[in-house]
């Protein structure tokens, strides 16, 4: 009886650990996929190209630094998106 009891406890413990590991593995997979995707975007030469374009748009519009940081950042973001979506290198 005692053996059976301890076996059941061991079995439950083992299952729990396995399940926990599975969850961790799944989360890790998702995290890895995100990292891979981010790396793909950052390593994409077009991102570098478009970052430069976005920076140029900003400095063309505001050579005297009259914009606030928030305004400047939004212009940069939208210019970057516009380039990534529409400009062919």
């Amino acid at each position: 009886m005692k053996k059976l009891f301890f076996s059941a406890v061991a079995l439950i413990a083992f299952s729990s650990v396995s399940m926990a590991n599975n969850i961790t593995i799944e989360e890790e997979s998702i995290s890895n996929i995100n990292k891979i995707e981010q790396k793909r975007i950052l390593d994409d030469p077009k991102t570098d190209f478009c970052s430069n374009i976005a920076a140029d748009v900003l400095s063309s519009r505001d050579p005297d630094n009259k914009l606030s940081s928030v305004e400047a950042y939004r212009i940069y973001q939208i210019s970057l998106n516009a380039c990534l979506n529409f400009i062919k290198k």
């Binding site: 374009i53 748009v57 606030s68 212009i75 529409f86």
Partner: protein
């Protein structure tokens, strides 16, 4: 005596009729954008496209009793993503990147940004400097007023921005383009940095018009700035 009574009656009737016009709809167009990129500046094509897009944008000011709204009329006609982005860039760089809502009775103003954020502020009347300089806009005699404020530029230095407004006392409505209001007359022309807004159509109504404030989660200006600069 009969003539005097008639004249007085006409005067009071006119006054009553004027004060009964408590709401209105004003269309603003872009009169001018005084900006030219430097010759050696890069990406002039995109800037030029943004300028021409901005020049075609129009805005609507609605006011009724103690509420008003100022909204962009673009964004309703865009058909494709490219047009949408160009319009967004034009609003951000040259015209107005928010829809503005004011409720004087609640002392609140709301800014609905082009990225969907809804910023809520306590309404505080602006301190305008009214001058004696005047000019006619359409058939309305307008006076010049200026308002200035300081802010931190993107180079971390304090900057000053001066707003110039031409308001018509004969149109006794304290509203205007963007979030500029509080003058003793409707603002018919407003210059903000490089861009000049001009009222091109004025419609006044006897009945009150419904102005709905946007609903949804609101954030403070500080929270918005933090959110944008963190890249979220």
């Amino acid at each position: 005596m009969k003539i005097l009574i008639s004249v007085l009656s006409l005067f009071f009737l006119t006054s009553f009729k004027s004060s009964a016009q408590s709401s209105g709809k004003i269309t603003y167009e872009i009169k001018a954008i005084n900006f030219e990129p430097k010759k050696d500046a890069k990406q002039n094509e995109l800037i030029d496209l943004s300028i021409s897009t901005a020049k075609s944008q129009t805005f609507t000011l609605l006011f009724s009793d103690l509420k008003s709204s100022f909204t962009s009329n673009s964004g309703k006609m865009e058909e494709d993503m490219k047009e949408k982005m160009l319009n967004q860039l034009a609003l951000l760089m040259f015209t107005c990147d928010f829809d503005y809502f004011l409720d004087i009775s609640l002392s609140i103003e709301l800014f609905k940004k082009e990225d969907g954020a809804l910023i809520k502020n306590e309404y505080k009347k602006k301190e305008w400097k009214i001058t004696s300089e005047s000019k006619k806009i359409d058939s309305y005699l307008c006076y010049k007023a200026t308002y200035s404020y300081t802010y931190l530029g993107r180079d971390n230095k304090t900057k000053e921005r001066i707003i110039t407004a031409w308001f018509a006392p004969s149109l006794p409505y304290s509203y205007g383009p963007k979030n500029y209001n509080g003058l003793p007359g409707l603002i018919l022309e407003l210059q903000d940095w490089d861009t000049t807004f001009l009222a091109t159509k004025i419609e006044l109504f006897d009945k009150e018009i419904e102005i709905d404030l946007p609903k949804g989660k609101t954030i403070t200006q500080e929270e918005y700035e933090r959110k944008v600069l963190s890249g979220n």
